[in-house]
Amino acid sequence: MTDGDVRVHLMERFLAEGRPPSVAESAAALDASEEDVAAAYRRLQEQRVIVLAPGTLDVWMAAPLSAVPTPFPVETERGTYYGNCIWDALGIPAMLGCDATIAASCADCGDPLPIRVRNGELRDGDGVAHFAVPAARWWDNIGHT
């Protein structure tokens, strides 16, 4: 079992069930020990491939997917997911190669800002994206960019 095997399993299971697998679930599916899978989860976090909830082995982010609800719900034919930010919300249809409807809202006034992706093209793309933190500092605090 490689870290890549764990990553692919984690992503596929996340997409299938709408939530990331626990260490025990991944270990059972990959026919590996929980100790080995836990070590793989930690290495994937160190490599900035996933983010674990602080002090736990629970996956918080496996970009572009968020394990907790966010203001960026994304409806697709495979299910409804949450992006970590608007980039990640758009990343979900980009990753899946499918249509999507993102029920975003303006961060300033809260008005709905629905965004549709159809046949690989963005519809309703009148809004503006804003990144607060320069690229080189994203991982200082990945929960705030």
Partner: protein, 74 residues
């Protein structure tokens, strides 16, 4: 990264929080960024992008300059 109705709303949001402007760009550019970044994410052979590769994805979306630089400047 957040979404706003317009540039004006970005300015109002920043002013209310006394934050400095970062980088604002169109949702079309964000879509280009998302495609360049995530379209290969389910490939078993996926690996993290090098700083050079990441900067190339940014540049393909028209995002350049110091804000988007990952490598030390020459």
């Amino acid at each position: 990264m957040l979404a706003f109705r317009s540039e004006e709303h970005v300015d109002w949001w920043l002013a209310a929080r006394r934050l400095r402007r970062g980088s604002a760009f169109t949702l079309e550019q964000a879509w280009s960024l998302a495609n360049g970044w995530y379209s290969d994410r389910l490939d078993p052979a996926w690996r993290r992008k090098t700083p050079e590769e990441a900067e190339a994805v940014f540049a393909a979306a028209g995002l350049t300059g110091d804000f988007w630089r990952l490598r030390p400047s020459d």
